[in-house]
């Protein structure tokens, strides 16, 4: 994927337009992430959209520039972090005296608020893992040279 990326970098329109769009794609990803309880979407879709913004950056500016923005190490860590957030919410509800992944105990005063908090955190975990794994797959594919 190296060669087309290099050629793409010289295309002024592609470069300017993608730079203009990337912040909006990221913002839309965050909106889908945190508005998932009220509108369509959720962690999975948000993670994919978030990763797609970085894909666009990588396609236009090349893999090396993308890896300066999002290093391998960061992808690896957040890949595991998402699952840990999700499982951690379960452990937290255990420690607070409920069942595993029983969000009601997260807020002792208001069960409904606890449910919302739990869903928000769990979706965050899904989003982090999904966007990190999309990036990991992209890196793995794009990092290979043609045989």
């Amino acid at each position: 994927m190296k060669i087309p990326a290099m050629r793409m970098r010289e295309k002024l329109v592609v470069r300017v337009v993608s730079r203009f769009f990337i912040p909006f794609i990221l913002l839309f990803g965050l909106y889908v992430q945190f508005h998932g309880d009220y509108g369509p979407g959720g962690g999975f879709q948000a993670g994919v959209i978030f990763a797609a913004a970085f894909f666009l950056y990588g396609l236009v500016y090349g893999l090396d520039d993308l890896q300066r923005v999002v290093p391998w190490r960061f992808v690896e860590v957040s890949l595991a972090l998402g699952v840990l957030i999700y499982a951690g919410v379960g452990v937290a509800s255990l420690l607070l005296g409920g069942n595993y992944l029983d969000y009601k105990v997260l807020d002792p005063h208001d069960a409904k608020h606890g449910l919302h908090l739990g869903i928000l955190l769990v979706e965050l975990g899904v989003g982090v893992t999904v966007s990190a794994s999309m990036l990991a797959i992209f890196y793995a594919f794009a990092g290979r040279r043609a045989a």
Binding site: Y38, V83, L101, I119, V130, A136, R145, A146
Partner: protein, 179 residues
């Protein structure tokens, strides 16, 4: 059925036929993206907005890019192959069996369908009274089916690990040597 659904389904069929007959792989990869976009449109018409969202983001977006990335590692043209009869017959037979199977299914949107009488009413009511969430899908996904979603997240994690182990090992080594 509304005419626009007919239109979308016939476009789907045409796209699928064109993909199967096409030798130029770049165009075939782009057409799979269009196929996903058309299915996303169909899902939206069926009020499955969350599924449509996923299909548009993953099918039309990410997987098309990954397919193009794979194409850059291989040739752009598929070699001409003669039509083989036995595989074609098996595909026809399987497709026919699936069509035959749909005849037994309840009509689309039938309120008496069994699926609407088991847990779904509880979920629909619970999302309103217990959660106060307008998006029932999120309530089911993150809470009623929280264990499943935890498993799915672990599956995605494992899949990414597998891809990294298979494809990225040489790169990781190279990056370390550079350091």
């Amino acid at each position: 059925m509304v005419p626009i659904e007919f239109l979308l389904i016939s476009f789907l069929v045409v796209t699928a036929l064109v993909i199967s007959r096409m030798n130029y792989l770049f165009a075939a990869a782009m057409l799979t993206g269009i196929f996903s976009l058309l299915s996303a449109g169909l899902f939206t018409l069926m009020d499955a907005v969350d599924v449509a969202f996923t299909e548009a983001a993953v099918g039309a977006g990410v997987s098309t890019i990954l397919m193009l990335g794979t194409l850059s590692l291989t040739v752009r043209e598929e070699r001409e192959k003669p039509l083989r009869v036995l595989p074609f017959l098996i595909v026809l037979l399987t497709g026919g069996a699936l069509f035959f199977g749909t005849l037994d299914m309840p009509a689309y949107g039938d309120p008496d369908a069994p699926i609407h009488h088991y847990l779904a009413p509880d979920y629909i009511e619970g999302a309103e009274t217990e959660f106060g969430l307008p998006n029932i899908v999120t309530a089911i996904l993150a809470s009623y089916r929280g264990f499943d979603t935890l498993g799915e997240t672990a599956v995605i994690f494992t899949a990414a690990l597998g891809v990294m182990a298979l494809l990225a090992s040489s790169r990781g080594k190279r990056a370390k040597e550079e350091e």
